[in-house]
């Protein structure tokens, strides 16, 4: 630490950091634009100017940019003396900024507004013309209003340099510099939404939100967790007038940091969907017409099933909801609502995490890793935020090079200059080309089983006590050796795999490599992606029970309660048909109607993540609590509440259910730490969901009734559905949306962080339920089961936009998604005699369009998962026969242009097998 003096005040600062970030850590109000805590310094905006004095006698000093300055021990600085320059900088930026704050979506949470006021520039002296630009249509997610640009370069640094996007750039020069695509068109990066938060002005805005716009302070919001995949990014949804308007990032230093993926940000439209189940329905028989019933009756009918029904839990419902179901039907009658293959895989993940000496890598950990092996997981499509993290990992080589020449780590542009296109090693073993291939040192295309054999061999090379594999080709062995060499040489080696390739051997092989990488106290990093927001939570609640969905269907039960689940996505259609038809009574609790729900006698309207409070457990076993954002209409309740019987006191507060789950989960006591405790208040107050500037409260329902209604109550007890409560500036134990005096934008976050960009001072970043296993190395046998294949060997292909059940029903996601299809090597396309507009009949399944992809191994077929038109669960492991479909016409929802791949087309240009 170094001691510096700034305008007479003494601060202890980290000399390895830049002065701006250090001053922000000390909560000083120093304006800035181009610096970003995740992206470091480039020194372009010149807004963070301070005066640096050479010594005690120096009266004049020298103006420097704080973000480009390493604080020196004993040095003297002044922020005040550079005040005028900073005002000049704003004034000159403003010469081309339009006066459209009233109609700008950024208004009220605009960093430019804040910095303008802070800098003291208030009076406009420029009387010339402004330079103007044309806007582009950048697709369904992001709006573009270039005239508002202040040329801080954050967007292009984020989109290209940070997120690896290739279809966005900075163009032209001088005061006509332009940020956009080479022509209009949908942004291709899966992380484009972050532009809206990274851009300090209203150039890039959330287009979905713009259509239902509301000022930041008029949105009711809460700390929440993304329900769209197993990563568990922290989000801040905002509601007004009973509809969810938008989702913004909620900072969690260990998980998502400052960034979300576009599925999480734009995929919540289903909450407001016209297809929402918003009334409770019942019918006496399968073929009778359902009729609406009151919530009281609905609950009575549901609870009446107790003792007779089995319960099928859900990987997308909260721990609390699953626990309540389990409690209602009893442990032995509680089944996991995931496919049988997934059931096995998830249990394997838990076994690895619990019983192998590996370090489960958080996203923060992943970003530190400097050699990576991705095993059969298309992370961009299955756990997108991890893909963004891997794009940072490969940059660690630049940081190493910088350290060698003593260049500070925050010198972003300089480090990129130094590293050029050098990347830390990343290897991908996959059944098809993926979106991370551009940063990979080597990509190997092969079946998941092949990849598993190669991976087992890597583990053996790393540690000869790990089981060996025979029969690898020379090329495969060369790959094995280079992977092993790079992983071994790394300070923080990482293996990423997951359940999505449906190959158990791959998980075992991943575990063996991570185990083999262990060295003394340091364990190899392992991240195993899981499909859904609470996949692991559900499986942990199974508590070792072998009650798979298949068993449920064979249980002979005559009554079933299905929690937030469409069984047709979990098992072959015919099996589900016969199970459902054997039931006398089927209760389904869900948000949107689906095939399973259509067969139910009792349908209960259950709240989405935005309307419920609860806990999810993410891919690393991190339990995270989310608070309901708003109260839905009376007919809708959270599943957890529906399922509680008098045992919990009919309407129990949520923590009672959390406590129940805690008794089952490993380290369940940690769940208590996720909230400040059920009876928490600060100075007698709870935390508010509404901003202190929330407007219209007394009149917003005046068109219905002139009497202001009583504020909604939250029985769960920690937050209010109102403006009343302790502001985060006083106490941020429950940290909702950041705001601080003078800092209305999301940049105010630093005021709540221990050090700018770092951990929050208060609040929880979740609790990891798995203890680090420090035991001796143990190995999984290098066994790869391979069924005999007739026809094509299939593998699943996932889509960030469309494969996930709920987000797929959001309008914005649909605009980026496509209907089901198969992907084939061009040679197979020819072999099957497929013309450009032909379809493919898939055995046991529907007929669908096809996509030719050069990377796909001939004889194999990629089958889209979760997209409308195919049920992957109908596939068997014995291979699939494909035929040209008769009388084919491509369906309307087939939008090949939404599928972004590097190997599309009919040529087989993509390197076969091992590609360097």
């Amino acid at each position: 630490m170094a001691k510096i003096t700034v305008d007479g005040k003494v601060f202890e600062v980290d000399p390895n950091n830049n002065l701006l970030q250090e001053l922000l850590s000390h909560k000083q109000d120093l304006p800035y634009f181009c610096w970003h805590p995740s992206m470091g310094s480039v020194g372009s905006c010149r807004q963070c100017a301070v005066i640096e004095y050479a010594n005690d006698d120096d009266q004049r000093g020298r103006q420097v940019m704080a973000c480009m300055t390493s604080p020196r021990e004993g040095a003297r600085y002044s922020m005040d003396k550079a005040h005028q320059f900073r005002a000049q900088a704003i004034e000159s930026i403003m010469t081309s900024h339009p006066h459209d704050c009233p109609v700008c979506e950024e208004g009220g949470e605009c960093h430019l507004q804040d910095m303008t006021v802070m800098s003291g520039h208030t009076y406009r002296r420029y009387d010339g013309k402004k330079s103007t630009h044309n806007n582009q249509n950048l697709g369904p997610f992001i709006g573009h209003e270039m005239n508002r640009c202040i040329t801080c370069y954050r967007c292009v640094r984020y989109y290209k340099d940070y997120a690896g996007g290739t279809d966005f750039s900075v163009q032209a020069s001088h005061n006509h510099t332009y940020f956009g695509r080479f022509q209009d068109g949908s942004l291709e990066s899966e992380f484009s939404g972050n532009l809206a938060e990274v851009c300090p002005t209203g150039v890039f805005t959330d287009k979905v939100f713009s259509k239902v716009y509301s000022r930041k302070w008029d949105l009711q919001s809460s700390p929440s967790v993304c329900a769209a995949c197993g990563v568990g990014c922290n989000i801040n949804p905002g509601e007004r007038y009973g509809t969810l308007r938008r989702v913004v990032n909620r900072f969690n230093d260990e998980v998502n940091g400052y960034f979300l993926c576009d599925k999480g940000r734009f995929g919540t439209g289903y909450v407001n969907s016209a297809q929402r189940i918003s009334v409770n329905m019942s019918r006496s028989a399968h073929d009778a017409r359902p009729s609406e019933i009151t919530p009281v009756d609905a609950k009575a009918k549901l609870l009446a099933m107790k003792g007779n029904a089995i319960g099928i839990g859900s990987p997308r419902a909260s721990l609390e909801a699953n626990y309540a179901l389990r409690a209602l039907v009893g442990k032995d009658n509680f089944y996991a609502g995931v496919s049988d293959v997934e059931f096995g895989l998830l249990n394997q993940v838990i076994d690895i995490y619990q019983n192998r000496p590996v370090h489960i890598a958080s996203i923060k950990d992943i970003e530190k890793c400097d050699a990576i092996l991705v095993l059969g997981e298309d992370v961009t499509n299955t756990a997108a935020r991890i893909a963004l993290a891997l794009r940072q990992s490969v940059k660690n080589i630049g940081k190493e090079m910088a350290a060698r020449i003593k260049l500070p780590m925050w010198q972003d542009a300089a480090i990129r200059t130094l590293a050029m296109d050098k990347k830390s090693p990343l290897y991908i073993l996959s059944s098809h080309a993926t979106r991370l291939d551009d940063i990979a040192r080597q990509v190997h295309i092969g079946s998941a089983a092949d990849s598993a054999r190669i991976a087992f061999a890597v583990a053996h090379v790393l540690d000869s006590s790990a089981p060996a594999v025979t029969g690898l080709s020379d090329a495969e062995m060369a790959l094995v050796n280079s992977i092993a060499t790079d992983l071994k040489a790394a300070k923080h080696p990482l293996v990423v795999s997951g359940t999505s390739s449906l190959e158990p051997a791959l998980l075992n092989a991943a575990a063996n490599i991570a185990t083999a990488l262990g060295n003394g106290d340091q364990r190899g990093n392992l991240a195993l992606c899981v499909p859904e927001a609470n996949s692991l939570g559900l499986m942990l609640l199974m508590d070792g029970s072998q009650n798979s969905l298949g068993k449920a269907m064979q249980s002979g039960a005559r009554q079933a309660i299905v929690l937030e689940n469409d069984l047709y996505r979990r098992a072959p259609s015919a099996t589900v048909d016969s199970f459902l038809s054997g039931l006398q009574q089927l209760a389904v609790l869900d948000h949107l109607q689906h095939r399973t729900g259509e067969a139910a006698n009792l349908v209960l309207a259950s709240g989405t993540f935005a309307e419920t409070t609860g806990t999810f457990v993410n891919y690393e076993g991190r339990a995270q609590h989310f608070y309901a954002t708003f109260k839905p209409v009376a007919a809708i309740q959270s599943s957890a509440k529906w399922l509680c019987d008098s045992e919990f006191g009919n309407e129990p507060r949520i923590h009672i259910l959390t406590g129940g789950a805690a008794a089952i989960l490993p380290n369940g006591y940690k769940l208590q730490k996720l909230t400040p405790g059920a009876d928490w208040t600060f100075a007698g107050q709870r935390a508010p969901r509404q901003h202190h500037r929330y407007s219209g409260r007394t009149v917003m329902r005046a068109h219905l009734n002139v009497h202001e209604p009583k504020q909604e109550q939250d029985e769960d007890g920690l937050m209010n559905y109102s403006m009343e409560g302790v502001p985060a500036t006083k106490d941020a134990t429950i940290f909702n949306s950041p705001w601080a005096p003078g800092w209305n934008s999301n940049q105010s976050l630093f005021k709540f962080q221990k050090s700018a960009g770092g951990e929050l001072k208060q609040g929880s970043h979740g609790e990891r339920l798995f203890d680090e296993n420090t035991g001796a190395k143990a190995w999984y046998a290098a066994v790869v089961q391979q069924a005999a294949i007739s026809g094509f060997a299939q593998f699943p292909i996932y889509h960030l936009f469309g494969s996930e059940e709920l987000t797929a029903q959001s309008e914005a996601i649909q605009a980026k998604a496509t209907g089901a299809y198969v992907a084939l090597n061009p040679a197979d396309v020819a072999r099957l005699g497929l013309g450009a507009s032909d379809g493919v009949q898939v055995q046991h399944n529907g007929a669908v369009p096809y996509l030719a992809r050069a990377s796909i191994t001939p004889g194999t077929v990629g089958i889209s998962v979760g997209l409308h038109g195919l049920n992957y669960q109908n596939m068997t492991t014995a291979g699939v026969s494909l035929n040209k479909a008769a009388n084919w016409q491509n369906p309307k929802d087939w939008r090949a242009s939404n599928i972004i791949v590097s190997d599309a087309g009919s040529s087989s240009a993509y390197g076969r097998g091992t590609q360097g």
Binding site: S44, R46, Q88, A89, I93, H174, T177, A414, T417
Partner: protein, 425 residues
């Protein structure tokens, strides 16, 4: 044989085609290559350092010292890049050298590359310099044919390739790190230093960027030695340099002369003084991005330190003359307009400060300006001062403006009250 005292221009005869390889060699050319090959690279750098040669690109930093920061070879590529962008307003010395004696530059580049152990040498040429392009391409071809370029030069273990890149045309491409970006096909924004180009330059490899004229000095120094070079200068200076004059003088042009020559000698003896009917009002001593000097400064020697003391910069040492019949506000406007257009757009004071300044100068010229505009213009100069911007473009641009506001303050005010008197007749 007496050694030449015009090592840069001895082969130049306007009107005659430049020497081809054989003619150039016959005139004593390419001796430095053979000599250089007998040196240890570090000794060669030391020799250049000892000669006191300062960079002719504008900053004047000791060339040999600049070279010495290059790390030892590691087997990978190393680059010499010659900065032939020459877009500084009023500057045309590199053009003379390249159009009329291309082999001198190529010899210098080979010799410099031997010192630097460079594996590849580039010339980054201003796009409009078509004649220089043809001359250089021809000369490079001849040099390859003669075996002074390519593999195992003159039977040694040293190999060097050379290529010419013609710029797409931005003033900022002359800034050495922006030049490197441009050469890599990236946007011509300057880079932050460190890392310095010597350590991580072109494509992340050790790179030296030098001005054309700087490199043209190398053959003489290596062939004739440090003492000879030192003896060429006057007033305590070493070597020769090309200085010149543009504006309403009798004989505009550029000439090689001893370093340390006074402005007056340049202005009166070489350029023949003002055309009849014109008075010298002021001059920009070294390109458009230097502060005005006044007639009383003519007796200063063209030495960086002396010029700095008078409140300006020597820059490229090609002076631009402002006469009494040309409006200083218009002259400054013209320069600021150029610089505003050439701003790379990276940093705020330059990108947004220059167009605003331009706007006020337009107003003043059109008689629509106000005293407040003059005040704001003064403010702008401080705003764009060194340290406030990312590179030297904007501070350079501010120099004629700030000195103009100082020396011609009354004329600025007159523009507010009466409009531009120069336009009225």
């Amino acid at each position: 044989m007496t050694l030449t005292n015009k090592p840069l221009t001895k082969n130049i005869e306007i009107g005659r085609a430049p020497f081809n390889f054989a003619q150039y060699q016959a005139a004593g050319g390419y001796q430095s290559v053979a000599r250089a090959l007998t040196y240890k690279p570090r000794d060669l750098m030391k020799l250049v350092q000892d000669s006191g040669l300062g960079g002719r690109g504008g900053a004047g930093f000791n060339t040999g010292l600049k070279w010495s920061f290059i790390p030892e070879p590691d087997g990978g590529p190393r680059y010499l890049v010659v900065n032939a962008d020459e877009m500084e307003p009023g500057t045309f010395k590199d053009r003379l050298l390249m159009e009329h004696d291309p082999h001198l530059l190529i010899e210098g580049m080979i010799t410099a590359s031997i010192a630097l152990q460079a594996t590849m040498a580039y010339i980054f040429l201003r796009g409009e310099y078509k004649e220089a392009e043809h001359a250089l391409l021809q000369a490079i071809k001849e040099a390859y044919a003669a075996g002074v370029l390519g593999k195992n030069i003159q039977g040694s273990t040293f190999s060097l390739d050379m290529a010419l890149h013609t710029s797409a045309g931005r003033y900022i491409c002359g800034e050495e790190t922006a030049l490197i970006n441009a050469l890599e096909g990236k946007r011509a924004n300057p880079r932050f230093k460190p890392p310095f180009p010597q350590v991580s330059g072109l494509w992340g490899r050790p790179t030296l960027v030098n001005n054309v004229e700087t490199i043209c000095n190398i053959p003489g120094i290596v062939t004739n030695g440090v003492e000879w070079f030192k003896g060429l200068g006057i007033n305590g200076q070493f070597g020769t340099r090309i200085s010149g004059v543009s504006g309403r003088v009798k004989k505009p042009g550029c000439w090689e002369m001893p370093v340390g020559t006074t402005f007056r000698t340049l202005f009166e003896d070489y350029a023949g003084g003002m055309q009849d009917g014109y008075q010298l009002k002021a001059f920009l001593p070294g390109g458009g991005s230097t502060d005005f000097l006044m007639p009383e400064h003519l007796d200063l020697p063209m030495i960086p330190g002396d010029v700095a003391k008078a409140g300006s910069r020597l820059g490229t040492s090609l002076i631009m003359v402002l006469d009494d019949k040309t409006c200083p506000v218009g002259c400054i406007h013209n320069l600021i307009k150029f610089f505003a257009h050439e701003s790379c757009g990276w940093c705020t004071p330059c990108r947004d400060g220059l167009p605003w300044s331009e706007h006020m100068l337009v107003k003043l010229e059109n008689g629509e300006g106000s005293l407040k505009d003059i005040e704001i213009l003064k403010e702008m100069c401080g705003y764009m001062a060194p340290g406030n911007t990312f590179c030297a473009l904007a501070p350079g641009a501010a120099e004629p403006l700030q000195s103009g506001l100082k020396y011609f303050h009354d004329e600025f005010v007159e523009h507010v009250n009466h409009g531009c008197k120069y336009k009225q007749h």
